[in-house]
Symmetry: C2
Subunit: 342 residues, 2 copies
Amino acid sequence: MKLKEFAREIGLSPTTVSRALSGYPEVNEATRARVMEEAARLGYRPNINAVRLATGRAGAIGVVMTKAGDYQFSEFMSGMADRLSGEDIDILITPMAEHHTGDELQLYRRLAESRRVDAVVIHSPRPKDPRIALLHQLKLPFIVHGRSATDVPHAWLDIDNEGAIRRSTEHLLDLGHRRIALLNGREGLTFTLHRLAGYKTALAVRGIDFDPKLVTHDNFTDEIGFRYARSALEQRPRPTAFVAGSMMTALGIYRAARARNLVIGKDISVIAHDDVFPYLTAENMVPPLSTTRSSIRAAGTRIADLLLQMLAGREAAEIQELWPVELILRETSRPAPKDASE
Amino acid sequence: MKLKEFAREIGLSPTTVSRALSGYPEVNEATRARVMEEAARLGYRPNINAVRLATGRAGAIGVVMTKAGDYQFSEFMSGMADRLSGEDIDILITPMAEHHTGDELQLYRRLAESRRVDAVVIHSPRPKDPRIALLHQLKLPFIVHGRSATDVPHAWLDIDNEGAIRRSTEHLLDLGHRRIALLNGREGLTFTLHRLAGYKTALAVRGIDFDPKLVTHDNFTDEIGFRYARSALEQRPRPTAFVAGSMMTALGIYRAARARNLVIGKDISVIAHDDVFPYLTAENMVPPLSTTRSSIRAAGTRIADLLLQMLAGREAAEIQELWPVELILRETSRPAPKDASE
């Protein structure tokens, strides 16, 4: 059965039928449900290309894969997939080699030209991110995962990084810690700046001087966590607490502490940010790790949802979601030791 | 400048120019290099859609994302991205919800119909995997990451799972271990069957009876590793060694051992499979973990490379790569304890 026949059979226009079947919510749910039911009843199987031609839609969301080996990436993608699965909408990943960083804007230009995606997701934004101005100019719908301080109106979803790190730093201060190390993300990214601001505010409120020797900026791996914690623990006086960027970073801190016979949760406190990976859980670490927690998978699902809304006509500029972050205390955030000379 | 003009200018046919610019290696390297140079010199920027139209290529490799939250996925994708970056070839991910497993074949039919990909990668194959027969019939080029016992000719790349697990089990037997637990992958997958075969062969050669109570099948997460190891360590006599499916599984075993005051590398030996994640390294675990090692990222890069060769005309049936796996001994594979009653 062809699209036209099917549409005539159920008394709707081919355009409405196409839209109902396109995966994008441009028709109301009742109509869409009816079209799906009738298609099942009459055995109509839409030709995906005909639907795409009729709707002018590519049926894909674009993501430029800039940072290779990023374990957050697959959880975020799984979250998007949860929402897009069953909608006949794919995810088009444009790979970019790490040494080609300068060409990223060019990749977005090509994506827009080729009309192979209906919208894109931007990751790891910087303040005044040039990708935002470019996509706005190209009129390619997009949403930012994170935030950027730019005047260009755009949709974004972010977690409250500043509040999360402020709260965990304050909690450690409440426990008597005075030298608190911060293992922060890569320099220049908005989330890194927000985390640093949260850390500095917590210190400032207590009148404690900021010591740049206690802060580092890098990727979130166990190896980098280990190296930095090892070197921080050689300082005199040494830090008694760590605010860590990720679970992997925390694993490295655990190792550095053990190598110096320091007991985590007694000699050293740790609070790490947890993106909620299904394969590595804070409760299972020894000892169970205190965390600031926000599911990156849930963010992926919600971002896919917001993109569908934008493609159905919702104004990008009105989409601004800031998610609160939970602070979950387990066994690694304890009172500061009386003597931290070793 | 249009494609035709540019081709005339450099004295080649538009088809050759398109092919040289398409990212697929259908013209020889010298011609391709010359076309790229001339394009740079004359300021010719190819219209990607014109090139695709001329070559009849979609410019994308397809991957159906079946298993959500799989941390191997992003490393493999990064490996593919390393090879495809700069070639103007994207990766199209078709999401599939976990509860929609029955529809996977339908997704491949749609991918083939829609002509949005030039080839696909199949993951986690089973023996006689129906996706292989289907893709062969649909004439959509594909390569299998893993192996399948089917008569349908096809390209594949796999690591020697059987040899890896046989070797690690044999090594533990050499060290005097007799009760060796195997934390294997999900049931029914080829790699799981191969690992079990390697384990059984090692035992059989030494005349040791296979005990099904020592083997479990599941996903590779720290939580599952912990739960299974905890229950295995309650057996009397208890296992003195574990062959673990992944680094995450090993983290769970470490925790279960600590909870019983058993020392890894003394009371308990562990050898785990390591896919070489950049963010979690076996050397950094406490104690450093003995592993069977093979980079899943390198596999992704090579698979992208082989797909490009296939699209340039190489016979699929002649592509059969079996990668050896290294056994790397660190501090967790030690002689069996004399008394394993606790």
